[in-house]
Amino acid sequence: MGKWFKEFAKGLVVSNPIFVLALGLCPSLAVTNSLDNALGMSAAVIFVLLCSNVLVALIRTWVASIVRIPVFIVIIATFVTMVSLTFEAYVPALYESLGIYLPLIVVNCIILGRAEAFASRNRLSLAVADALGMGLGFMLALIIIAVIRETLGSGSLSLFEHVLFSLPVLKEQPVSLFLLPAGAFLVIGLLLAAFRRMGLIKNE
């Protein structure tokens, strides 16, 4: 049981996919300009990561090593397309705002990275732990970035159409830099430095 929890906790902070491993950056930078998008994207990533890790862990003994990577990536692509079809049918608003980044979860480096590096080498329960840990770590990081970017970038923070709070001055002239991609880089860089300063993550 201890090992299971260790694998799970590892994904949250110690080897957080975005801040430590610097994987899966493409979607996280683009969709964190609003909290709803960030939550939608993390939900999709967690679902796909969990399913693909489970399936990869199940078939790891049967898969021939030459075609290992194509097989894994086809499995991930199938899950992602299913997610994007269901989103389009039942949650169109979120589907619109995620745009091109939803199909790009397929090449999101975390999922294939975890499938290749971890799930294909460990038994099922550990693969699930790793998927959950990494997924939640990804969601945590995305939420933190989205909160900062949305508050500074558009002056107010809203969760599913009702405004949580809005800053007086920023409401009129928000710092729209933070909505730009460059702002996302800035936020992640400074956050990473802050985490290292606080000792949460060890320096290089």
Partner: protein
């Protein structure tokens, strides 16, 4: 000998099997969700149409042109226009109260950069089209009345060009159909 062949081609068989299963699964989900998506899109569009013509009771639709009626009275026409903006396609619905004057313009979907591109939804830009004559639907620089938003030129220019192009095609349709 037979087993050896299977062993050697095992990799190929396995890959093809995985691809078949995944393609099958996908088609299954696609067929399940296909009409739901169409229904959803149609519903969404109806919502916009109602917003444009509040007193609408029914409408006719032929060759991409909507004829909006309140009972027997022809309220106006409506059509969609679409063009690639800064970071994705922008779909617009244009309502005409009659053959010449524009009733209003609605942006159905866009993925422009929030805070900059999304200003095409806001007041000064979107309401400038209401009541404008159809052949003024061109950029001010090209002799029309429509002007872009400073700082969001790509997005606003895309909207104006989309509307003007669609208007030209559809008007030809309406006039042709009337004669």
């Amino acid at each position: 000998m037979r087993f050896n062949i299977l062993k050697r081609f095992y990799a190929i068989v396995f890959l093809t099997l995985v691809v078949i299963i995944s393609a099958g699964l996908l088609s299954l989900t696609y067929s399940l969700t296909a009409e739901q998506i169409k229904l959803r899109q149609h519903e969404q569009f109806l919502g916009y149409l109602a917003e444009m013509f509040p007193e609408m009771t029914n409408f006719e639709y032929n060759d991409e042109l909507y004829y909006v009626y309140d009972g027997a009275l022809l309220l106006g026409y409506a059509f969609t226009a679409g063009k690639a903006g800064y970071s994705g396609d922008i779909n617009i619905m244009v309502g005409l109260s009659d053959k010449e004057t524009v009733k209003g313009v609605l942006i159905i979907s866009q993925t422009e950069t929030p805070g900059i591109g999304t200003r095409i939804l806001e007041e000064p830009f979107i309401s400038q089209f209401a009541g404008m004559n159809v052949n003024d639907l061109k950029l001010r620089s090209e002799g029309g009345q429509a002007d872009t938003i400073t700082g969001a030129t790509v997005s606003s220019k895309a909207v104006i060009e989309a509307i003007s192009q669609a208007a030209v095609e559809k008007l030809a349709g309406i006039n042709g159909q009337d004669e």
